[in-house]
Symmetry: none
Subunit: 223 residues, 2 copies
Amino acid sequence: MMADFKHLLYSQFAKIAKALAQAHRLELLDYLAQREHSVESLAKVSGLSYANCSQHLQQLKAVGLVTSRKRGQHVFYRIAHDLVLESLESLSKLARHNLAEVDRLIDQHLNARDSLEPLSSEELATRLKEDSVTLIDVRPADEYGAGHIAGAINVTLEQLADFIAQHQAGKEVIAYCRGPYCVLSYEAVQRLRAQGIASHRLADGYPEWYLAGLPVETDQGER
Amino acid sequence: MMADFKHLLYSQFAKIAKALAQAHRLELLDYLAQREHSVESLAKVSGLSYANCSQHLQQLKAVGLVTSRKRGQHVFYRIAHDLVLESLESLSKLARHNLAEVDRLIDQHLNARDSLEPLSSEELATRLKEDSVTLIDVRPADEYGAGHIAGAINVTLEQLADFIAQHQAGKEVIAYCRGPYCVLSYEAVQRLRAQGIASHRLADGYPEWYLAGLPVETDQGER
DNA sequence: CTAGTATTCAATTTATCAATTGAACACAAG
DNA sequence: CTTGTGTTCAATTGATAAATTGAATACTAG
């Protein structure tokens, strides 16, 4: 009974948080924090459809974050009271704080070589069989042409931006280069991660893979 | 570019709100607002399965609301920083204000809360300076140990009968617990009054007092 | 009254989230 | 090394939310 009560309370709190848990609604609230707006002006400025915008506003209204008044054929929405602004500011401070924190952590992580968690050749071989990764060869085109791991595509650091742009989200990327003391794959992994793409480097490079008798290809065909 | 930045911030902002938009996670945060907890203790006290609880905690961690540390085979989670407590309080205030439902629930379950005439933190601070009241912390001993209002003694509901027996007549008793929605102090005040002891509850709980920068103590010493 | 405009409603599809399950991992004690 | 315990992972299922579409209400101006 006492637990029921508590859970009910938390649910009520959660309703309000849910109303805030959507980027578009936050944007709308941000505009409304400046001044009262009609549905029309909000839809235009936010780029939402009228219907969608209207529905978002109704959700905000349902939990009491905004109020509305009808004047003529327009419905004007406004922030319900100052507590809403305070909460928004408080959450915004938190977001900024955590965002900075995230950036700091990422930098720290990527600067420590070991944290890149290199993949072994064996792991890579099985991942390739599963087709669960995209394998990129970061070496210059001529070295790639001369011989590369079977299934790898050539993406130099210069081509990396284009690769990232057309990369299908979700698929993990494995990068390799000349060998364990070559920095090219480190650089590639850092840039990929900076764009939010899950990525690792191969512990070894092409020569070690080749020597291990694992499958390779050249521009002239497979081995 | 400016729009990109804004949208990024809204998204980050929404991620945090999303983490707060779930009753179970709010409950977990409420426990964590009292003190650090292991996954196990949180799972038990919240009634969630280990896996589910762990996953909720990881979501909270992913957006930087909590941090974790591993000690032996236990993983302890704690609130990441005071900004989180502030945001939670702000959200809670908003919820109280907006949801008539919440008030209805409180009235129903914490019967006649107004008649208990809660004390504000400011009033309590001055009363403590005058040494005109006895302050009791009704929370479990571990939460008391992790941090309590300076000058408070720990009297759980189980210990209340003993406390009443040796209480010096005439001195007023102030009880506090986890926060405005915690029922422990209501219960204590009711029992004290039933024994003819003048008693009130503190309007807020320990987290609010701590956030206000008012004096606190832990088992290890003052702040 | 009629036509035009602003807003909302209702229904559908798509995407995202929560809870569950069973297995995997990490550490500690025996 | 083995066993037990605490925590996390991965995969599935069921639930909930977002965006889109087209139609239905208001209201105003003419």
